[in-house]
Amino acid sequence: MEPQTQASRSSDPIIQVRNLRKTYYHGKLVALDNVSLDIPQKQVAVIIGPSGSGKSTLLRCLNYLETPDSGDVIVDGISLSTTEQLAKVRAEIGMVFQQFNLFPHLTVLDNIMVAQRIVRKRNRDDAERTAKELLAKVGIADKGNSHPGQLSGGQQQRVAIARALAMQPKIMLFDEPTSALDPEMIKEVLDVMLQLAQDGMTMVVVSHEMGFARNAADRVIFMDEGAIIEDTTPKELFDAPKHDRTREFLGKILH
């Protein structure tokens, strides 16, 4: 079951979510309630919804950082609930966190190189070349030898994106990537994401940035209380929401 052969085989959705259920506190809190979802290759999907609606949980289930109670996620033909090689699948799925989660004891370059070296087994020169290219791509080529603590939030988040991209993933997951940023830094991160979307990356983004959803997304998914309420194009969802709860939510955040 090599991921490479699976990818080239068909135009099957690269992510298939099947009847996912996740509860916390011994079943008292239902975070995901029987969610199913297909995401084809090269699609940019934005998940929106009020806090506590399960959107982050759903995203974190896509690479099994959260283990669901039941149901399955199939990435590139591999079922995550049964695979023995979860780490191998995760290497194909880049993830960007709200709190960046850079490794503070390493330099920016080492942050981007460490996984290439020990997971992809690349030699030092190759890893460093890739890291420098990616830093240039996200616009902070001069910060390679700094430590994360010396960078602004926006710069840190761009390093985090570069770190994920260094693994050459097939899919990128973004978990509220701009929520912890000062307003003036949001754009620099969104620009990088926009560029990534135009390059044809398969992306699943949990975000409150409606502008990004409108401009870059192929599809917007509205979630509430652990279920997908509406799943359509950005134009339809923002201009003509079908569901009451969607209208209520949009009314609150769009003013």
Partner: protein, 478 residues
């Protein structure tokens, strides 16, 4: 990012207002006096020979100067119980070449045999000189404006000037080359010259004036490394000037220091391993592993180390015997049973085992706390790029946890060093046991335990400083 203090230290220079300060004037005056004192005779006379008579009839005659080991030999020949009856000394004039410039250069040329002695003398007599040079450079710079002498040199100059005072006294004692016993008898005949008192006064002036100056600049004056050196100096002084009994005690117990260090370093290395495994076990989500690790920590921490050591040394062989005997009747396991019956723990192994088991339990808690203190997002980020749990621990979590763990583990090391004295009950010839052996032989309880305490003090103080040093080198910005 490693913190680099040196650039900050060199930034602040003395201002013009500071330059007109009376304290600077006093410092310059003291430093100049120090230089002048180098041109004056420090000592007028020295002992050329001495005859010592004891109450039992023993008479010791010697020519001076004598080497340290000869002196010890003569001292220990003194019959125990005999009292000093009289000391007769003959003195001779010290030549001008020997007494000026603190006399050390001439002596080094004359006497190459006592190289070590003269090296220590050179250090002691050189302190005032170096201090004077630094003080003059500092004062000169503040009067002429900044010229690159960093202000960080102020505390160094103060420490050197302050150390010069006992250093000068030591240099004086060097002239006698004998114990305090003889010193008391001959001090009146060998008063130091005017250069000595001048140098003394100048050192005090420089130290005090620079010290009051730096109070304003709020630079840290106390360098705790100096305390380590001070304790070493005390040991050296005792051995040097009171060879009986201190040189003898030192010769008797110094192999115990090596045994103590071997036990401590071995058990500390093993303890780190046990702590890591214990700590990982305590945070494991596997219930069995977690329970075993927690049980280990709770049980071991509840039993005194001394009791654990006694159990391992006296009771464990019996336990092995019983288990071994039981295994003998089990088919296929006779070999293992016989091995257990034949197993003998030597004292060293038992000591290391006891210390490792006990301190591993405390260490496990430190490791658990250190690892848990790393934000869980770090583990998630590491796993999300495809690292395994072990890889994430190895490359992401533990390097960060190490910086949290280091200070308490350093404390554990010092505690382990001190508690290693308990293994003396297991027939291990460590520092404490050697001290006890010497004491039971000579009944010199005060001198023996002072010496043992000082040896432990040097080891613990040195370890604490090293821990601090490593800590400051491994800090990074969050």
């Amino acid at each position: 990012m490693l913190l680099d203090d040196t650039s900050r230290l060199t930034e602040h220079r003395l201002t013009r207002a500071e330059a007109r300060d009376w304290r600077l004037v006093a410092a310059a005056f003291g430093a100049l006096l120090l230089l002048v004192s180098y041109a004056l005779p420090l000592f007028g006379q020295r002992i050329s020979s001495a005859t010592t008579e004891f109450s039992g009839g023993t008479v010791i005659e010697r020519e001076y100067p004598v080497l340290v080991h000869e002196q010890h030999f003569a001292q220990t020949k003194r019959p125990i119980g005999e009292q000093l009856v009289s000391v007769e000394i003959t003195t001779e004039q010290v030549s001008l070449a020997e007494s000026t410039g603190y006399g050390w250069m001439a002596q080094i040329v004359q006497d190459s045999e006592g190289a070590l002695r003269h090296l220590s003398m050179l250090l002691m007599m050189g302190l005032p000189l170096v201090s004077a040079v630094i003080a003059i450079a500092l004062v000169g710079q503040s009067w002429r404006g900044p010229s690159g002498v960093p202000e960080a040199l102020i505390p160094i100059s103060i420490q050197l000037a302050a150390l010069s005072v006992p250093g000068l006294f030591l240099a004086w004692f060097h002239q006698f080359d004998f114990s305090f016993l003889l010193l008391e008898q001959s001090a009146g005949a060998l008063m130091p010259g005017v250069g000595f008192w001048l140098a003394m006064a100048a050192s005090v002036t420089t130290a005090v004036s620079l010290f009051s100056l730096r109070n304003e600049t709020r630079r840290e004056i106390v360098n705790w490394w100096a305390l380590v050196l001070a304790v070493v100096l005390v040991i050296w002084l005792l051995v040097r000037f009171r060879p009986f009994p201190y040189l003898e005690i030192w010769r008797f117990i110094n192999d115990g220091i090596l045994v103590t260090l071997r036990i401590v370093s071995t058990s500390f290395g093993l303890m780190l391993l046990v702590s890591l495994l214990g700590g990982l076990g305590r945070i494991s989500s596997n219930r069995v592993i977690n329970f075993v690790a927690s049980l280990y920590v709770e049980l071991v921490r509840g039993i005194p180390l001394l009791v654990q050591l006694l159990f391992i040394w006296f009771a464990l062989p019996q336990v092995f015997n019983v288990i071994g005997a039981a295994l003998l009747s089990v088919p296929l396991l006779e070999g293992a049973g016989q091995w257990l019956i034949d197993l003998r723990l030597d004292p060293f192994t038992a000591a290391v085992l006891g210390l490792t088991v006990c301190y591993g339990a405390y260490g496990a808690e430190i490791f658990r706390a250190g690892i848990s203190s790393i934000h869980k997002g770090q583990m998630e980020a590491a796993r999300s790029v495809g690292m395994s749990y072990v890889q994430a621990m190895r490359f992401v979590i533990l390097p960060q946890a190490a910086r949290v763990i280091l200070p308490p583990v350093g404390n554990e090391f010092v505690a382990l060093l001190k508690d290693s004295s308990l293994v003396s009950v297991l027939a291990v010839s460590d520092l404490t046991r050697r001290g006890r052996e010497y004491m039971s032989r000579t009944f010199l309880s005060f001198d023996t335990w002072i010496m043992v305490a000082l040896c432990y003090l040097v080891l613990t103080l040195f370890s604490s400083r090293m821990v601090e040093l490593i800590e400051s080198k491994t800090r990074f910005e969050r």
